[in-house]
Symmetry: C2
Subunit: 306 residues, 2 copies
Amino acid sequence: MTSFPVPTMPAPPVGVVGLGQLGGSLAAALVAAGRQVTGWDVDPAAREAAATRGVRTARELTGIVVLAVPLPAMAAALEGLDVDPDATVTDLGSVKAPVLAELGSALGGRYVGGHPMCGTERSGPEATDPGLFTGARWALCLEPGTELPRWLRVAEVALAVGAEVVPATAAEHDDAVAAVSHVPHLLAAALAAAAGDAGPLALALAAGSFRDGTRVIGSDPGFVTAMVQGNAGPTTAALARVLEQLARPWPELVAAGHAVRAGGPAGRRPVRVPLERAALLSLGRAGGAVTRRLAAFVEGYVPDVG
Amino acid sequence: MTSFPVPTMPAPPVGVVGLGQLGGSLAAALVAAGRQVTGWDVDPAAREAAATRGVRTARELTGIVVLAVPLPAMAAALEGLDVDPDATVTDLGSVKAPVLAELGSALGGRYVGGHPMCGTERSGPEATDPGLFTGARWALCLEPGTELPRWLRVAEVALAVGAEVVPATAAEHDDAVAAVSHVPHLLAAALAAAAGDAGPLALALAAGSFRDGTRVIGSDPGFVTAMVQGNAGPTTAALARVLEQLARPWPELVAAGHAVRAGGPAGRRPVRVPLERAALLSLGRAGGAVTRRLAAFVEGYVPDVG
């Protein structure tokens, strides 16, 4: 068993920058979990909403600093704030390679990219829900330069609010979310736009399959555009793979899609994974996740296909 | 006001052929609405399930005969049954031009094609739900040769179980459902199949947008394949229109899709429509529906875009 310098107790304080749906929910969930949380938002109303949930608001941030701001605001998110120069910085952005490129050069091994796979088509502090992360997967990036003890500290934050941690590189993450999140947004937009062109009769006959297939494009268009454009390369490639599927004979296509949707793992097999980058990334590539941290390894699971 | 020979009371009995999810639910809902209902299914278990809901089961059918069988079984659905030669025959099939071609030649004006826009990814008699039609749109086909009094009698059946009746020609219906139902099934299949190829990490990170975007391909693949292949021409054309949308610049595409999804009518404006084929079809083309029948006209609504 490898013996890494694992973090020692007590858990560090958490600073949350941006108190909209994701940041506000995270700050509230961490308060509920007994963690010391400081929050900041440029919008006084968002600060006030967080304060009513027990979040201390201030510009001085230390420990683990979570950037919960939209992608275009990420690079400048710490401007005007007083951040401990040894703080670990993580974010909740929906693409990871561009944020790594922006923040990684300045922060080096202190930056740990993250992406909780949750959130709804609602946004803003009024959509705050401390239970938002319960049971959600939370991708946490492990690059060659990531300092592992800092990665574990950020993982603790995700585990503390009920999420499961999926280790991945930024590039792996971006390819994966292009396929399962960004392309679905584009398909939903195209489906809705084409049905709109088809006219009122078509929209009047729209039922469950149209409602489900277009729900996600109810989200703020600025947010969706920033997300797909921020992951343009992987999304273009993933969209091309969907178009290839659409060119297959329909019985084949329907059978293949049904098999993926109806299939899925039979269960979860508990595993212990040593605190090594390669082992953690293998866990993520197998579809597994970290569910608990112990002394010299993490506990998690991989899908049981048996 | 036109004075058509509107149907006289009492409402005719209904025969339902096929007692799976749709037929079983319709028969049960009609029993609950006080209509006289006879049902038949080749499967004794389906007949037994219907009987427990108060449906009389027999091979002798009269009045309005509803074919609630899968598309491939439609042409032979009445074989072995004793059907009144003056019965009005309707169906619940998800495509209408092919069924019209098959049944219309033999039945002429006695055939009225129908398609309730409901049902779930579940199927079979165990998915029976008498509330399935409440609030659903029910497309009802008006061809040049359709006998209007028969159309109104079938419309009464739809209204009796809580649906709203959308008048359309078979060709209009098939174009519309290609855009809002059949293409969504193909997109869901392609999305799921491509994500499956992307691997376990992608599926592990799949969240709401993937779940919603693929839900409909959880349906029985044989049913989905029969549906899209039974409407191959309109579905191919509608899919091509979606692919055109996907070739637009993403900010434009996202804005256009969001506008359709977030838009929709501001309300419903009540209207009275004379009992004429052209007026009824205009109502359907405007996105309206029939909600109630009176003596010499139908009451319905059109979307209020004001």
